[in-house]
Amino acid sequence: MPIFFDYEPFQEWERIQRQMDRLMQGMAGAERLPRRVGVYPLVNISEDPDHIFVRAELPGVNPEDLDITIKEQQLALRGERKIPTAEKDVNYHRRERESGFFRRILRLPAQVEPEKVEAACKDGILTITLAKPAVVKPRQITVKSA
């Protein structure tokens, strides 16, 4: 499994945690447990032979309040989650949802083509689809019979 880093404080600590996680997973062979990361938003990263997918749960974030940039293998996610302030004469019983800004920089596990990056937001989940360049794509090798 490729390693990826977040350029954030506690970077080293996170790296150690990740290695520990991987060791534990290898030992138990059990379900992958979500890692504890200190930076919003939490992301899941997956791949298929041609793409890398970065997904983040961003409920209530308008696509226009998102700013996604890519530079080489660094993907930056910035944005703001706004919660409309309710009109006057309102009494809150529960307030668990938070508003605020976020900024996260991810190091991608492989090279990508910066021109072929697509982002889509659906039902509060952001999916960033990054195309792998031909050099890192797996290629089928046919075995010739002599």
Partner: protein, 132 residues
């Protein structure tokens, strides 16, 4: 309101009464509940839940919210997982009298907004104090 930096929240698993028929995990959505003179409004964060995947029920003051999340494509290999994926379920005891026929629900960007208008007799009435 001052700008603040968002902190990631680890999803809390919903307590279960008996085992579920379908495999998978169920989480408690984060909610805001507020009351206006006319209605009780509930806002729940349910990322990954489409409008037609929400089931709402209000029976004898027990409000249940259930949101079904469609699983991610299977042909992908997971490289790193920071958030867990699962459905959302939460129950509330609603003390106020609700006009059940006028409940409105919308889902936008993974956020459910449930507006429950108060029944006529539950609305606050101003009581005039007569002098004289």
């Amino acid at each position: 309101m001052a700008e603040q930096e968002l902190k990631p929240q680890v999803k809390e698993e919903a307590p279960t009464k008996g085992e579920r028929v379908r495999p998978g995990r169920v989480f408690l959505p984060a909610v805001d509940i507020f009351e206006t003179p006319q209605a009780l409004v509930l806002v729940a964060d349910m990322p990954g839940v489409a409008g037609d995947a929400v089931t709402l029920d209000l029976k004898e003051n027990l409000l249940t919210i259930y949101g079904k999340v469609s699983p991610p494509p299977e042909k992908e290999t997971l490289l790193a997982q920071e958030y867990a994926i699962g459905d959302y379920y939460r129950e509330f005891q609603v003390g106020e009298l609700i006009d059940k026929d006028k409940i409105g629900a919308t889902v936008k960007n993974g956020v459910l907004t449930l507006t429950m208008p108060k029944a006529e007799k539950a609305k606050p009435r101003r009581i005039e104090v007569k002098t004289g």
